[in-house]
C-alpha cells in the first residue's frame, strides 16, 4: 500500500483468523469424507476401506489388490468395492452436498429476511418439495422411473413455492415481514394439502413418511452428480452476494442509498436459495435444522461478515450432516436411521437455546 498518505499501520485489516477457520473446516470435511465410509451397516476394517478408496481414487495405480487380507463377501473384492465406493462414498458425498446446500441457503435466507430464525423450512420450501414428492407417490406417476421423477417433482414443488414468495417480493408491498409471513402461511397451507392427499390415499403414506424423515441412502452417482451440479452452480452464485447481504443488514433503504438494488438483489437471492434448497431436498427429503443452525455457528466463530458467513455456512452444514450420519451409525450400529430424525434431534435443543437468547438476537441478528 505504498505511496499513500495514511500510515499503513493505522489501517485495520480483516482478521486473518476468519479465513483460517474456513480452511480448517474444509480440511476437516475432506478428512471426514475419506474416513466416513468406514461406518455402515456392514463392518469393514478401516484400513481396507482406505485402501479401496485410494485404489479407486488413483484409478487402480495404488494398492492393486485393496482387499488383500480382509474378509470379503460372496461377491468378492468387487462387491466390497461396490459397498465402499458406490454405496457409502456416494452417500457421504450426498451428505456433504446437501449439508452445504442447506447451510448456504439458511445463511442467505437469514440475511435476506434479517431474521435469525429464517431457514428453508420456515419458508415452506421443503413443504413444497414434499407435496411435489407426494404427488408422484400418491398418484403413482410413472412408477418405473420414480427414482428420477420423484426428485424432479420435489424440486419443482420447492422451486414453485419459492416462486410464490418471489411474486410477493416483487410486489410494491413486499416488505420483509410480509414475505416471511407469506412463507409461514404457505408452509402450513402445503402441509394441509399433504395431509389431505394422504388421507385419501393412505397407501402412499409410508413412502411419504420416509421422505419427510429425510434419507441419504439408496442413491447412486447419477443422482449425486445432478445434486452436485445444481448446488455447485447456485451455491457459488449465492456466495458472490456476501457484500450485498452485508449492506442489506442495514435495511433495504440504506442498502439502496449505498448502491445495492435491494429489491432486485432480494429476488435473485430468494430464487437462488430456492433452487439450492430444492436440489438438496429433492434427493433426500426433509432434513431439518441444518439450514437454521449452520449460519449461527459461523457467526459465533467468525463474525457476521456475510462474505465469510455464506461459504462458512456451506462448510458447517456439510460437516454437520456428515457428522450426523457418522454419529447415527456409531450410536445405532447396523441400523439405517433416517438422517432427518438425527439432525432434528440435535438441532431442536439448539433451536430452543436460540429462543432463549432471543432478546439479544433481536438486536444482533444472532451471534
Amino acid at each position: 500500500m505504498g505511496g499513500l498518505s495514511a500510515a499503513p499501520g493505522a489501517v485495520p485489516r480483516t482478521p486473518g483468523r476468519r479465513r483460517w477457520v474456513l480452511v480448517a473446516l474444509l480440511a476437516a470435511i475432506g478428512a471426514g469424507v475419506f474416513l466416513s465410509p468406514v461406518l455402515g451397516t456392514y463392518s469393514i476394517a478401516p484400513e481396507t476401506v482406505l485402501r479401496i478408496l485410494l485404489h479407486q481414487v488413483s484409478g487402480g495405480a495404488l494398492y492393486p489388490n485393496p482387499c488383500a487380507g480382509a474378509p470379503v463377501p460372496v461377491s468378492g473384492c468387487a462387491g466390497l468395492t461396490e459397498i465402499v465406493w458406490d454405496a457409502r462414498l456416494s452417500e457421504v458425498m450426498l451428505a456433504v452436498i446437501v449439508g452445504a446446500a442447506l447451510g448456504i441457503s439458511g445463511g442467505t435466507l437469514q440475511g435476506v429476511f434479517r431474521n435469525p430464525l429464517a431457514d428453508p423450512f420456515l419458508l415452506g420450501l421443503s413443504s413444497g418439495g414434499t407435496v411435489g414428492a407426494a404427488v408422484v407417490v400418491v398418484f403413482r406417476v410413472g412408477v418405473s422411473e420414480q427414482n428420477l421423477l420423484l426428485p424432479l417433482f420435489a424440486f419443482v414443488g420447492a422451486v414453485a413455492t419459492g416462486g410464490v414468495i418471489l411474486v410477493a417480493a416483487r410486489s410494491r408491498f413486499g416488505s420483509v415481514e410480509t414475505l416471511l409471513l407469506t412463507g409461514v402461511a404457505l408452509s402450513s397451507f402445503l402441509s394441509s394439502v399433504l395431509s389431505l392427499m394422504l388421507l385419501y390415499n393412505p397407501t402412499g403414506s409410508l413412502q411419504v413418511d420416509q421422505w419427510l424423515l429425510g434419507n441419504l441412502g439408496a442413491l447412486d452417482w447419477t443422482q449425486d452428480g445432478i445434486a452436485f451440479g445444481v448446488v455447485l452452480i447456485s451455491g457459488t452464485l449465492l456466495a458472490t452476494y456476501g457484500r450485498e447481504l452485508n449492506l442489506l443488514q442495514l435495511g433495504p433503504d440504506v442498502a439502496q442509498s449505498l448502491g445495492v438494488d435491494s429489491r432486485k438483489v432480494r429476488v435473485r437471492l430468494l430464487l437462488l436459495a430456492s433452487v439450492t434448497t430444492a436440489a438438496a431436498v429433492a434427493f433426500t427429503g426433509i432434513i431439518g435444522f441444518v439450514g437454521l443452525v449452520s449460519p449461527h455457528v459461523v457467526r459465533r466463530v467468525a463474525g457476521s461478515d456475510y462474505r465469510v458467513v455464506l461459504p462458512g455456512s456451506a462448510l458447517v452444514g456439510a460437516g454437520f450432516l456428515l457428522g450426523a450420519r457418522d454419529i447415527a451409525l456409531l450410536a445405532f450400529p447396523g441400523t439405517l436411521l433416517p438422517i432427518g430424525i438425527f439432525t432434528s434431534f440435535a438441532g431442536a435443543p439448539f433451536f430452543a437455546y436460540l429462543l432463549y437468547r432471543r432478546r439479544r438476537l433481536s438486536t444482533m441478528g444472532g451471534s
Partner: protein, 438 residues
Amino acid sequence: MTAADPPLRLRGVTVRFGGRPALQDVDLEVARGQFVVLAGPNGSGKTTLLRAALGFLDPDAGSVALFGDDVRELPVIERARRVAWVPQEETPRDDVPLFDYVLYGRYAHLGWLEGEGATDRAAAQTALESVGLGDRAEDGILSVSGGERQRAILARALVQEAPLVLLDEPTTHLDIAHQLDLLDRVRSLVRDRNVTVVAALHDLNLAARYADRIVVLSRGRRVADGPPAAVISEELLARVWGVVADLRRDPRTGAPYLLPHHLVPTSPTAPGTMLGRGPVHVVGGGGSGAPYLRALSEAGYRVTAGGLHLLDSDLEAAESLGALTAVEVPFAPIGEEVRARLRTLLASATAVVVAPFPVGPSNLPNLEEVAGQLGRIPILLVRRTPGPVWDFTGGRAEALVERLRRGGAREVAGVDEVLATLAALATPRPSSTPTPAQ
C-alpha cells in the same frame, strides 16, 4: 451530468400516500455548495422530499433530477455515486466494527466481487478520523453511543464521495453538544469539499445558525424559501407551526433566534377550549398591571403584556413571569412596530385584561388596539376607583373606554373578580346548548 446541472432539482413533484398528499406540486432547485435546510412541522413532507430525491419512491406527478438526470432512470449504483444519505436512525442487525461499517460506503465504487483495496481502507480511516472516531475503528456499531453511531454514518457518507449529501433529522437522538458537533462537521464538508447538503432539521435555531438557505414546507407545500434572516419570523412560526414566539438575534452570529412561548389558540372564541390555561393579555402601565399579571400567572394562566415602556414596573413584573411583551423606549409614543407586535400578542390571546392604568397620548394606542379586538375575544375592563384623574388625552381615552363598555367588554372589580370571570368563561355554560323546555 454537466457542471451547470444543479445537484437536486424538483419540478412539480406531487406524492400521495393512499390519497393523502405528502408533497404537493413542489418546485425546488438546489445550487452547488449550498447548505439547505428543510424545515416544517411533523408531517409537512420533509422526509418524503428527501426520499423522492433518493429515488426511494415514484412521484405521482413531476420529476426529480440529480445533476440533470431523472433519478428514477439512473441505475441504483449510479445514484449512490451522486447522492449519499444520512438517515435519522439506522437499525443495524450485527455488531459490525465501525471501520467495516464505514467501508460499506465504498460499495458503489467497487467492481463486481472486487474487495476493498488499500485506497478504500485509507479513505475509511481518514473519514473516521474526520468525525473524531479515529481510535474507535474496532468498536462495534451496536456498542457505541447514539452520537458516535450517527457520526459513523456521516463518515460512511463521506467515503461514498457523493457530491450531494442528504440528511434526515440527523440530530434527533443527539444531545446539544453532539448536535453542534455534527452540524459543524457537515458545515465544514460544504465549505472544504464543496459538497452540497440538504438536511431536514426540526430545530429552527440550529437551522438558522447553519443553513445558507431554509426551505419551509407546510402540508406538503413549499411556503417559504430564502436565507435564514429573511425566512425566520414570528409570523412564520405562528402561521406554519402555530406557535407564538419571541424573535431575538444571536448576539455572536447575528442569526435569528426564536424563543417559543405558547401555542396559538385553536379557537379563541369557543369557551372552554384554550381559555382554561390559554394566554391572557394584560394591558397596563405604571404598576397597574403587575397585580393582575402575578395573580393570573399564579392561577396557571400564561400571560402576555404590553405595550409597555422600558423601565415601567409592569414590564419588570411581566418579564419576571416570563411573559412575552411589546416594548417601547421610554417616554416615546408607542410606535407602529410596537403596535404590530401588540397586535400579534392580542391575536394569540384568549382574553384581554385592561388594568386601570393612566392613559396619555403615548400609550393611547394600547386602548385603540384593544378596541380592535371587540367581539373576537372577551375583554375584561377593571373598574377604576373614582377620584384620581387618569385621562390625560382630553377625553379620547374616556371615549375609547366607553366604546369598549358598549361593545361588550365586561366591567370587573379587582383581581378576584378577574379570575372568577375568566374561570366562568372557560367553563361552557349549560344554557348555551339548546335544551328542551321544561
